[in-house]
């Protein structure tokens, strides 16, 4: 019965991840390798943090402090491994560049793919046992919590997938440019978002989800800047685009020339509309052809009338013969 709930939550949590993987990652083998590699690094980080958790568990302390401390440690581990991933990928990228003598893959795309790997893996870990329990006939609400719990968990997974993508882009850019403010933004928001999720079991869903979405929006803005976007580019991306392709000739120069001419035409059309050269020519051609076709029509009409009068004349002459 609640397969509906299962698929609903799975789509909410992993919708962006699925879209990113299929549309942007899957076509490029290097990016696929990076996604897997970064997923592996995330798993390593959770291995290390679980080892540390075990060490904490040996000391006696309150359950709540214990849990919060573990979350903090886990976040720090993840960020540490993000840095290790950065170093590894830097080496990888240098190797690639040496081999092919040029940028095979955009470094920004690589940092994005690293973020996707981190995001998918952490999303899976955070929500998979919740989803597994959701397959049964029940929903949350028998003892504590409400039926909103599953939705809240799924939307948190959604947040974390996106956040990890943004964090990676920011982090890689920040390490490249030695921008410590941005690095600390990543770590602080990561800690904040993670500790917020601890509230989820207590039923304050809006208190968890809304701040997380605020963090997502802010981080998205910073990541956009780090990836080279500006307010202007964002605006212009919504304006219509003119694309010209040309494969008419085997000569590149020739193709460029043709393309430029076409672009000129298209721009003229776009900007001047009715008054563009092409439109004027079209209009004139149409006017002339209209005149010609009008003339033809009039001629046909004349001929028809002539034929009719001849036929009438014959008819009247025949009638008169019969009468006589």
């Amino acid at each position: 019965m609640t397969l509906c709930e299962f698929f609903g939550c799975a789509f909410i949590g992993f919708g962006p991840a699925i879209a990113m993987l299929t549309l942007t990652i899957a076509q490029d083998p290097v990016l696929v390798i990076i996604v897997f590699g970064s997923g592996f690094f995330w798993l390593l980080s959770s291995l290390v943090s679980s080892g540390l958790w075990l060490l904490i568990g040996l000391t006696s302390m309150a359950h709540t402090i214990h849990l919060v401390l573990s979350v903090t440690l886990s976040v720090l581990c993840q960020e540490g491994f993000r840095y290790l991933l950065y170093l590894t990928m830097k080496m990888f990228n240098n190797g690639l560049n040496n081999m092919f003598d040029s940028n095979v893959v955009n470094w920004k795309m690589m940092s994005y793919a690293a973020g996707v790997g981190f995001g998918v893996m952490s999303g899976v870990f955070s929500v998979v046992n919740v989803l597994a329990d959701a397959v049964g006939p029940a929903t949350v609400g028998l003892k504590t919590g409400s039926d909103k719990f599953l939705l809240a968990s799924a939307s948190l997974a959604f947040c974390f997938v996106l956040l990890h993508v943004f964090w990676s882009v920011i982090f890689f850019h920040a390490v490249d440019t030695a921008n410590f403010a941005k690095i600390s933004w990543v770590i602080v928001t990561h800690l904040l978002a993670s500790t917020l999720t601890l509230l989820n079991t207590s039923g304050h869903y809006s208190a968890v989800v809304i701040p997380n979405y605020v963090i997502v929006l802010l981080t998205a803005g910073i990541a956009f800047r780090a990836a080279g976007g500006t307010l202007n580019s964002l605006k212009s991306s919504f304006s219509p685009r003119i694309v010209v392709r040309c494969h008419e000739s085997r000569s590149l120069e020739q193709n460029r020339k043709i393309a430029r001419e076409r672009l000129l035409t298209l721009l003229d059309n776009h900007i001047n509309g009715e008054d563009s050269v092409e439109a004027q020519i079209k209009r004139e051609t149409k006017r002339v052809s209209d005149i010609i076709s009008e003339m033809k029509r009039e001629r046909r009409e004349k001929i028809r009338k002539l034929k009719e009068s001849v036929a009438n004349a014959k008819k009247t002459s025949n009638d008169s013969q019969e009468n006589s």
Binding site: M1, T2, C4, E5, F7, G8, C9, A10, F11, I12, G15, P16, I18, A19, M20, L23, T24, H63, T64, I65, L67, V68, K108, V130, D133, G136, P137, A138, T139, V140, G141, L142, K143, T144, G145, D147, L151, A154, F158, V188, L191, L192, T195, L196, L198, L199, T201, S202, H204, P211, F224, A227, G228, G229, T230, N232, S233, L234, S237, R241
Partner: protein, 693 residues
């Protein structure tokens, strides 16, 4: 700078608020509550039909609806809008008409009966047929008599719910905490002013899981049992059965000894008197088959009589006549135990298949059986009322037996009333013997006359309250108690059998031990790890009331084992063997069994001891499963089998409303579609978006 401070502030606040609200439980534990210890109705089959209940393989889920009155039933059947439901009913509402209306409504997916024991007992509660074992016993020989032509039925309150095929599971919940949970959950989630309101909200539901593997009938199911796959052989059903307990008063002589003069018994025709009782009963629910009137009173009286007879007759004396004590298993299911004994006797293989190479007593045949007394449905009758004696034919032997009983009963304030000989005998093991050899001088001693006075025959309510037993535990037993009455009956029976054995009335002073009767009833009704059972060498009994369901062939029930060991403890003679030698060597000695008892009765401080006894077990498996190629539809022998099931569990949880599910799914699909659109947009415009300047 300000923003940084602000963030740190938020961060600290979050930390602090998290501290108070953290716990790390698995989600499943929050979603489900197991109703442990609920008893489930299961499926049984005979040669032609299937009976009982089953759920779907993955369990039946239904919204809880508590039924306390007829208006609740009407609401469920007519008005309710969010099926399927699970009806939670009180025993007083649990009737055949209710179940039929629930089944025909098509809205009900299961039933849970709740009874915490303190609620008022319904007037009658018997799910057995109004004519128990209607088609077996004497019916095979002379046609059905019960309920035919103005004859009264034996069990007028019987509803036959047990003998119907229900397409939903039925559970029985007794734990008060679980009942409270059901009520709370129902109150918080399911109570609405208008039925349509149930559509919009998450509802409290139960999942009942009692899937049965077997179906159709025993024949089909046993055929399926024999199908083997490459890796495993799956079992679908098991024949019902267990062990009969039998014991002779005197050890029986072997063939070799009989040629020389011996102090042991050589049987002649009609020399063996039989005292029989049944060991099993029935109810709808697995693991919950109390049977105070149905079985315990008779078992206890039989054991006490055996003990008393051993005290009355010194070991030095020997007589021509013997007494056979029989405790029969599976009698509720068309007389499994007795029909097997009769079958074995007829073929000369009771108690064992004769083996000339071994010194063994000769087989007992039906012709050896003399007076036959069966104890059935015993209870303390109302003051001034007699016990009733039923018999098939009037004969001089039965007349003599009845006169002995009546005479001895006078001393012990037990009155007997012999009903006129009738073909319409109450359901009893004697019927099986009479069907084979009608001239056996047999009588059935019951508390009821022509109809059961027990309103809870074969039900979960035939429990300790039904005979008003109160454990005295060494203190003085009340004068009007069931213990005293059964003790007096024991004396009467023992004296009667003594007269049969010795041919003269008893003049000694031995009487039945009242504290033994008290302890026996306590062990059988209340606490199965009592000192008596422990003394008899049973240390691993679970500490709860015994269940008298017969069980399946491969897994014999606990009751025969306990009864056998108690008989051995109370009547066995002490030997000097140590533990390693305390077992019977079949090749040399087939007269005695040896039992390693923890201590002697009434002396728990005594050391462990090896007891020599004539008590023995025999298979109580229907001949239908012994005879090669038996025709399962012939009805001659019991063909009852029990289905195999993987689990019997009940779970309470909150079921999401359809609208909530639909909303979640559509939200998910929307997010997915929007993600694709967004990513596609960014991908297409990436040159413009991410080109600086």
């Amino acid at each position: 700078m300000f923003s940084q401070h602000f963030i740190i502030l938020i961060f600290t606040l979050t930390y602090l608020s998290c501290l108070s609200n953290v716990n790390g439980q698995r989600l499943k534990e929050l979603m489900y509550e197991n109703i442990d210890g609920a008893f489930a109705c299961f499926r049984r089959l005979n040669g032609t039909h299937q009976f009982g209940c089953t759920s779907a393989r993955s369990g039946n889920v239904g919204v809880i609806h508590i039924i306390e009155s007829q208006s609740d039933v009407d609401w469920l059947v007519k008005d309710s809008l969010a099926p399927p439901y699970v009806a939670v009913v009180h025993p007083s509402m649990f009737t055949k008409s209710l179940l039929l209306s629930l089944q025909s409504s098509g809205k009900v997916n299961g039933v849970a009966v709740i009874n915490n024991g303190s609620a008022e007992r319904p007037e009658s509660f018997s799910h057995e047929d109004s004519c128990p074992n209607r088609y077996s016993g004497l019916s095979l020989r002379q046609g059905q008599t019960c309920g035919v032509q103005e004859q009264k039925v034996w069990n007028p309150s019987g509803t036959s719910i047990l003998l119907m095929d229900w397409n939903f599971p039925i559970f029985y919940v007794t734990e008060q905490s679980h009942i409270n949970r059901l009520y709370d959950c129902h109150q918080t989630h399911n109570v609405v002013p208008h039925p349509a309101d149930q559509l919009d909200r998450s509802l409290c539901a139960l999942e009942l899981r009692s899937h049965m593997y077997a179906s159709v009938n025993s024949k089909k199911c046993i055929q399926r049992n024999s199908y083997k796959t490459l890796f495993s052989q799956m079992s679908f059903c098991d024949p019902l059965g267990g062990k009969n307990v039998w014991q002779t008063l005197f050890p029986r002589s072997t063939l070799k000894e009989s040629s020389v003069k011996s102090d042991k018994q050589v049987e002649s025709n009609g020399s063996i008197a039989v005292l029989a009782a049944r060991l099993d009963a029935n109810s709808m629910f697995d693991g919950l088959v109390p049977s105070s009137v149905g079985a315990v009173t008779s078992i206890v009286t039989l054991i006490a009589t055996a003990e008393l007879l051993h005290k009355m007759i010194p070991p030095s004396e020997s007589y021509e006549n013997n007494v056979l004590f029989l405790l029969l298993s599976g009698e509720s299911y068309d007389y499994i135990g007795s029909s097997r004994i009769v079958y074995d006797m007829k073929h000369g293989v009771f108690p064992v298949i004769p083996d000339p190479s071994v010194a063994q007593p000769p087989p007992i045949g039906l012709h050896h059986i003399g007076p036959f007394i069966e104890l059935s449905q015993l209870n303390k009758p109302p003051l001034g009322h007699p016990l009733h004696i039923h018999r098939l034919n009037a004969s001089s032997e039965t007349d003599k037996l009845i006169s002995y009983l009546k005479r001895n009963g006078q001393y012990w304030d037990i009155q007997f009333k012999d009903l006129p000989p009738s073909k319409n005998l109450p359901p009893a093991s004697l019927q099986t013997f009479l069907a084979e050899k009608p001239d056996i001088p047999g009588i059935i001693v019951t508390e009821h006359a022509m109809q059961y006075s027990n309103q809870f025959y074969h039900s979960v309510l035939d429990d300790i309250n039904n005979i008003k037993f109160k454990y005295s535990n060494g203190s003085r037993v009340a004068d009007d108690s069931i213990q005293l009455y059964l003790r007096n009956l024991t004396n009467t029976l023992a004296h009667t059998l003594y007269e049969h054995v010795t041919g003269k009335p008893y003049v000694g002073a031995a009487i039945a031990d009242l504290s033994l009767m008290d302890e026996l009833l306590y062990c059988y009704l209340e606490q199965s790890n009592c000192t008596l059972f422990q003394s008899a060498g049973n240390t691993i009994s679970p500490a709860k009331p015994l269940s008298y369901y017969v069980g399946v062939k491969h897994v014999p029930g606990l009751v025969p084992v306990l009864s056998g060991s108690v008989l051995a403890l109370l009547t066995g003679t002490q030997t000097s063997f140590n533990e390693t030698h305390c077992h019977n060597n079949v090749s040399t000695d087939q007269v005695y069994q040896y039992i390693w008892a923890n201590s002697k009765w009434n002396d728990s401080a005594s050391p462990k001891v090896c007891l020599q006894t004539t008590m023995n077990f025999s298979d109580a498996v229907s001949p239908a499963f012994v005879i090669e190629g038996y025709n399962m539809t012939s009805g001659q022998y019991s063909t009852w089998t029990e289905s195999v099931w993987p689990e019997l569990t009940a779970k309470l949880f909150v079921k999401p409303s359809f609208r909530h599910e639909l909303m979640t799914l559509s939200l998910g699909v929307t997010v997915l579609v929007l993600s694709f659109a967004g990513v596609l947009f960014i991908k297409v415009r990436k040159e413009i978006l991410f080109s600086p300047g």
